[in-house]
Amino acid sequence: MLLPILRRLSEMLFVMFGISVVVFLIFFATPGADPSARIAGRNATPEVLAQVRHSFGFDQPMPVQYLKVMEKLFVSRDLTSFVNRGERVIPAVVEATPVTLSLVFGAAVIWVVFAIIMGMIAAATRGGIPDRLLMFLGLVGISMPVFWVGSVANLITQSRFHNTWLFHWVPGLGYTPLTQHPFLWFKGLVIPWVTLAILYIGLYGRVLRANLVEAYQEDFIRTARAKGLSESRIMLRHALRTSLITFVSMFGLDFGALVGGGALLTEVVFNLPGVGRLTYLALQSLDLPFIMATVMYSSFFVVVANAVVDIAYAWLDPRVRDAR
């Protein structure tokens, strides 16, 4: 049992190492551009440039440069932004992480629960009116861009209908830490959660329905009926359980990507100071240290999510367990 976990961990480390090398090469070894100029940002003074060149060791060979950058990122953690002078990158990312986690966790709970309900109802009534209606709604959900949904939600809850009984509870945009005021944390995130979840409910609901309908063609469903089991038991214990593989793998990757900063648009629209918004701001100002840090951070979560998906596979399907 220990060995597979160790192997998995070393695989993760190896992948992370690969990503860090690629990120490093893109930022520092792209020919034709002085990396120090790019790190220093636009309109940097010659003094700043010299300082950057020295502190990153650009006068030294490539592997040394790589090690220096990694040291700055992970060991001394003193890589600083060149747009907001003196702002340290790593603490900023660490500070933004709980915001993103709060947003994504909540949205994930909503989308998993609703997608499963939607997929099951649609599959149980396949071909019927509820099925068609749900699949249509799902398509609508997928088609609506998240920034548009967010803006409309803001328009409704923050201005147009804010003073009605329906939305007067919605606090202003921004984030309240959970530790500070849990109820306010919750209230402030409800609308962003739903906004972020809509797309995924549609996507996951449709995928799950397709997988369930496929599962219903399987021989073992016929066996389950022949055993005299109830339809709900057949759905939950036999069809759903075997249909979750695609669902879980999609979830792992999407979740990882979102925690890693993929919820950027939602964070920007709702003015949540999360990692996505940090990335967004860094991109706007071409703040390379920040971009690098957020890319590494996001790759970490994607890799972790992948590992979790693999473990979930084994839990879901004993055949996978045996194959490894």
Binding site: F220, A224, A226, P318, R319, D322
Partner: protein, 347 residues
């Protein structure tokens, strides 16, 4: 139906009358089964044999009411222990399935849910019909696996379907089907996916069921050899109708339908003289959409005559019935020949 007038001491367990199954489709109504009637008696093995498209599997699914397609039209009556299954509510039917009538399928690999252990799946069936604790259900599951000849049953119960060999999987499947002591077991091609030496083991097990469990078996197969090995009575189906039925020695020994005869002759013999060429039936079985009018076998039949343009009813000769105009006038000549041949071989 004449078959029921045969004096027999055994009680009738299942009585299917005029079962018709068809499907609505864009191209009109597709008939799969046409007026199929038969009975299964207590503690007997009835084999339903036929090629692809004969409707043999559809018959078994209809009896279990497992045809879930909303476009299916099912008429006739299926009387099991005095109750018409087609008139039962879904709930009553569910209660019967698995408890009174159980079913096993061709490929136990795909017929068992891959993510649960064998033991779990047997327990599930037991607990669906009986008020048992998990512990008691597991004990019974292990006991059943043992009775089915699974070595180290307690360990086997903890295995997943893919971890067992084909033969053991089918044994586990049978153990599950028998867990609630059903009176009728429907076995749909139970040995087709298995190797011949393992097939022999499973057939032996099936034959033991009536003595050990008092169950009747409705065996669906395409293999005349399997029919010959285990059944008491045989029903040969072709293109959705009953071609011939009767006691096994009669049907196999002196077939009165040209299709039965052709089918038997198509099988290369394991003994005696090898034919220079196998006597084969020309053409292939029709698809349900392309069934010819009148007798469905007539385009492939070497004895075709004018009368074949109308569908023949089942004619009776002794214990045997065949839906062929030739059987109207007693046993056809070839039946006698075949009878002489087979008794000669057996001697």
């Amino acid at each position: 139906m004449p078959a029921d007038q045969i004096p027999n001491t055994a009680e009738t367990l299942l009585d299917v009358q005029d079962l018709c199954v068809s499907f609505r489709s864009e191209r009109g109504i597709i008939r799969i089964l046409e007026n199929v009637s038969f009975t299964v008696r207590a503690r007997e093995i009835l084999s339903i044999v036929g090629e692809s498209g004969s409707g043999k599997s559809m018959t078994s699914l209809a009896v279990m009411r497992l045809i879930t397609d909303p476009n299916a039209i099912i008429t006739g009556s299926i009387t099991y222990k005095g109750r018409d299954l087609l008139k039962l509510s879904p709930r009553e039917m569910r209660d019967l399935r698995g408890r009174e009538i159980a079913m096993i399928f061709q490929d136990p690999m795909t017929a068992m849910t891959p993510v649960y252990t064998i033991g779990w799946q047997i327990e599930e069936q037991l607990r669906a019909h009986q008020d048992l604790s998990r512990h008691a259900a597991r004990a019974r599951a292990v006991e059943l696996l043992g009775e089915m000849g699974v070595p180290a049953p307690a360990k086997a119960a903890t295995r997943y379907p893919h971890q067992l060999s084909g033969g053991l999987r089918q044994r586990a499947m049978i153990a599950m089907a028998l867990s609630c002591n059903p009176s009728l077991l429907i076995a749909d091609e139970p040995t087709t996916a298995l190797d011949v030496t393992v097939q022999a083991q499973i057939l032996e097990l099936l034959q033991r069921l009536r003595t050990d469990f008092g169950s009747s078996v409705m065996l669906i197969t395409h293999d005349m050899g399997v029919v010959a090995t285990v059944s008491d009575r045989v029903m040969v189906m072709y293109s959705g109708i009953i071609a011939e039925r009767g006691p096994k020695p009669d049907v196999l020994g002196q077939p009165t339908h040209p299709y039965t005869l052709g089918l038997l002759h198509s099988i290369p013999p394991m003994h005696g003289e090898k034919p220079h060429r196998l006597p084969s039936i020309p053409g292939s079985p029709p698809s349900p959409m392309g069934r010819p009018p009148g007798c469905p076998f007539q385009p492939r039949c070497e004895f075709r005559m004018d009368a074949c343009a109308t569908r023949p009813p089942l004619f009776r000769n002794g214990m045997q019935e065949a839906s062929c105009w030739l059987a109207d006038k007693g046993l056809p000549d070839w039946a006698h020949e075949r009878a002489i041949r087979t008794t000669g071989e057996a001697a």
